[in-house]
């Protein structure tokens, strides 16, 4: 019986897109244990996979090959330890394909920590031991794009594997590390994640992501691509004094006046985004967490370019001028609160109550956590935030 569970998000390509056949676009590293390599089923599958990969402009190499700057995927068959270890040991690997792998507990634990690589698991229901281990490995993966195919193993799976790897590697977004200068001398490190179609001539709205006072832009590693996949560019910022933006000092040493100046980083970010040809500088927004939400609001409210503002677990009280901005309805507001945090949930309800924009929303959670910690507890939250920005900043 053929039991398919996958491909909720990956389009099945009847034809390979026309831009996928110009030279070696990506590389698959092959790691197959001895017994599995002698399996005629594997030999047939490998041959079919090689043909499919070449159609996408990829190639198969062994693990001793020199890996250049091309995107890398790994395919493993058999024991699976080598393939999992290779992927876990290489931050540049973005996709791992496990074909009928009998994973050990150690390999499953490695997969559970391997957030940089999506895992695509092929398991044959006839291999009962492998099926259980494969499922455990699949469920352990923290990557949103990980998937599993439970099906009789044959060459018909090769096109699916090639399409999945290509989809993972050509995920429709463009990531660029940038440094944004401020008028007072800070160099702000940031990741700019832009929808791929914005590079093809379209312009995208953009959101500046402001982390909390104890963290840095890395807390947006999942949210930023989700925004870009919905057509909204994301600028994940290390605001002054945090992360890589410490050329003039550290946030923890700031006086109150210096802390207040963090709001200026929003303006500098807006100016930078407006200078980019692929960004629509009239449709900008901010998402801020805790202290970052307060600085974000101070920088965004009053700037005519702001069309959307999201605040998570913020302790921010609106100034009169900021209230008036919300009452005009020009800015949509998303307030994300945790009810047990009485100070911040009260402040956020007050902010939400001032907004007259029909896209404004209030989300309240029963847990008493702060900021990005909510992302860990509620897997739907980041997609919901991305959906909200796509609507609020839509054309």
């Amino acid at each position: 019986m053929r039991n398919r569970i996958i491909f909720s998000s990956v389009p099945e390509h009847d034809e390979v897109p026309s831009d996928r056949v110009s030279g070696d676009r990506w590389v698959i590293v092959e790691l197959v244990s001895g017994e599995a390599s002698r399996d005629p089923k594997w030999a047939g599958f490998r041959s079919a996979l090689r043909d499919e990969i070449e159609r996408y402009g990829g190639s198969i190499v062994d693990s001793d090959a020199a890996i250049d700057l091309r995107p890398v995927a790994v395919v493993g068959c058999g024991a699976g330890e080598d393939a999992v270890g290779f992927a876990a040991g290489s931050p540049g690997v973005s996709a791992l394909v496990l074909v009928r792998c009998d994973l050990t507990q150690d390999s499953i634990e490695l997969i559970s920590e391997c957030s940089h690589a999506a895992v695509y698991t092929l398991a044959d229901p006839a291999d009962r031991t492998i099926l259980a281990a494969s499922l455990d490995g699949h469920l352990a993966s923290p990557h949103d794009s990980s998937d599993i195919e439970v099906a009789a193993f044959d060459t018909s799976l090769a096109p699916m594997v090639a399409a999945w790897v290509d989809h993972r590697i050509s995920s429709g977004i463009h990531v660029e590390e940038v440094t944004i200068p401020t008028p007072d001398g800070w160099g702000l490190g940031a990741d700019l994640i832009v929808p791929a179609n914005a590079h093809a001539g379209a312009v995208a709205p953009a959101v500046v992501l402001m982390h909390s006072g104890r963290s840095d832009r890395a807390v947006f590693d999942r949210l930023a691509p989700l925004l870009a996949q919905r057509g909204v560019a994301a600028l994940a910022l290390d605001w002054r004094g945090r992360g890589e933006s410490t050329n003039l000092g550290r946030f923890v040493d700031f006086t109150s006046e210096q802390q207040a100046a963090v709001a200026g980083d929003v303006t500098a970010s807006y100016d930078y985004l407006s200078s980019r040809s692929e960004i629509d500088g009239t449709r900008l927004g901010v998402l801020g967490i805790a202290h970052g939400a307060g600085y974000g609001a101070n920088g965004a409210l009053g700037d005519k370019r702001t069309k959307a503002l999201a605040m998570m677990t913020a302790y921010h009280l609106l100034e009169k001028g900021q209230e008036e901005v919300l009452q005009t309805g020009d800015v949509a507001v998303l307030c994300v609160a945790c009810t047990p945090n009485k100070m911040s949930s009260g402040a956020l309800r007050e902010i939400y109550s001032k907004s007259t924009n029909p896209s404004s929303r209030m989300m309240e959670f029963s847990e008493g956590v702060l900021g990005y910690q909510l992302f860990d507890l509620h897997a739907h939250l980041e997609p919901a935030i991305a959906d909200w920005f796509a609507e609020a900043l839509g054309p």
Binding site: A88, S90, D106, L110, E113, D216, V252, K342, M343
Partner: protein, 240 residues
């Protein structure tokens, strides 16, 4: 918005740089309370503060003052940036490290414990390792493998089977602080507590969030309750 006061340099603080066994350069701050600085012969305990991967060494200081509270209880401390974070970001940042490279934070913890022992003159098991969230795994493995570590504190720990096995084999005194809405840490932390010896303690809170930020939430939302910093320091003092 409630601004936090800037960190005021403490006269007993000393910026230190040190090396993990694989040569990775680490940066931190030693806090040596009076008996340790004067070499009075009085017994001094020590604590290694290990931030989670989203945080830097200042996370235990900024608005929390954990080294101050430890020092008040006669406990010297070292706080440091794990590899890839803060001042320990060269040659690569945390996000550029692979899963296996991230596990080497255990080496960072071991090196920090060695430095602390050397500077304070600790020769017995009078060092505690205090960690939070994801790096609790590496911190716990370092503690389990170091006979001179006498206590383990974990805030909202994220652990795995092999770490729990190592803790069960060592049976260290273990203090776990977790807030119950953090279900994964509640599970892992409870098993870590069960793996510890009879001096181990488990405190399950409600509505405080994750890691070191639980201390902040406690002071904001439950100001009439005992500060978590004090509970932590008292347990370490009692246990060591």
């Amino acid at each position: 918005m409630s601004d936090l006061a800037p960190i005021v340099p403490n006269k007993d603080d000393e910026v230190v740089t040190f090396e993990a066994t694989d040569g990775w350069q680490l940066s931190g701050v030693l806090r040596l309370p009076l008996p340790a600085r004067l070499d009075t012969g009085a017994r001094v305990m020590g604590a290694v503060l290990v931030p989670g991967s989203h945080h830097e060494q200042d996370t235990f200081v900024y608005g929390l003052g954990v080294p101050d509270v430890l020092a008040e209880h006669g406990i010297a401390s070292i706080r440091f940036d794990i590899r890839g974070r803060g001042e320990s970001r060269s040659p690569r940042s945390w996000r550029q490290l692979s899963t296996l490279e991230r596990r080497r934070v255990a080496d960072d913890v071991a090196a920090a414990a060695d430095l602390l022992r050397t500077r304070v003159g600790i020769t017995d098991a009078s060092v505690a390792v205090i960690s939070e969230q994801d790096t609790a795994r590496s911190a716990a493995l370092a503690a389990a493998g170091d006979p001179l570590v006498g206590a383990l504190v974990m805030l909202s720990p994220r652990l795995d089977r092999s770490t729990l096995e190592a803790l069960a084999a060592r049976r260290l005194p273990t203090y776990v602080m977790v807030s119950k809405e953090d279900r994964r840490s509640l599970h892992d932390g409870t098993h870590a507590y069960l793996a510890g010896d009879e001096r181990s303690e488990l405190d399950v809170f409600s509505g405080l969030g994750f890691g070191a930020t639980m201390f902040m939430s406690r002071s904001f939302e439950q100001p009439d309750e005992a500060p978590l910093q004090v509970m932590l320091a008292e347990w370490v003092q009692r246990t060591l």
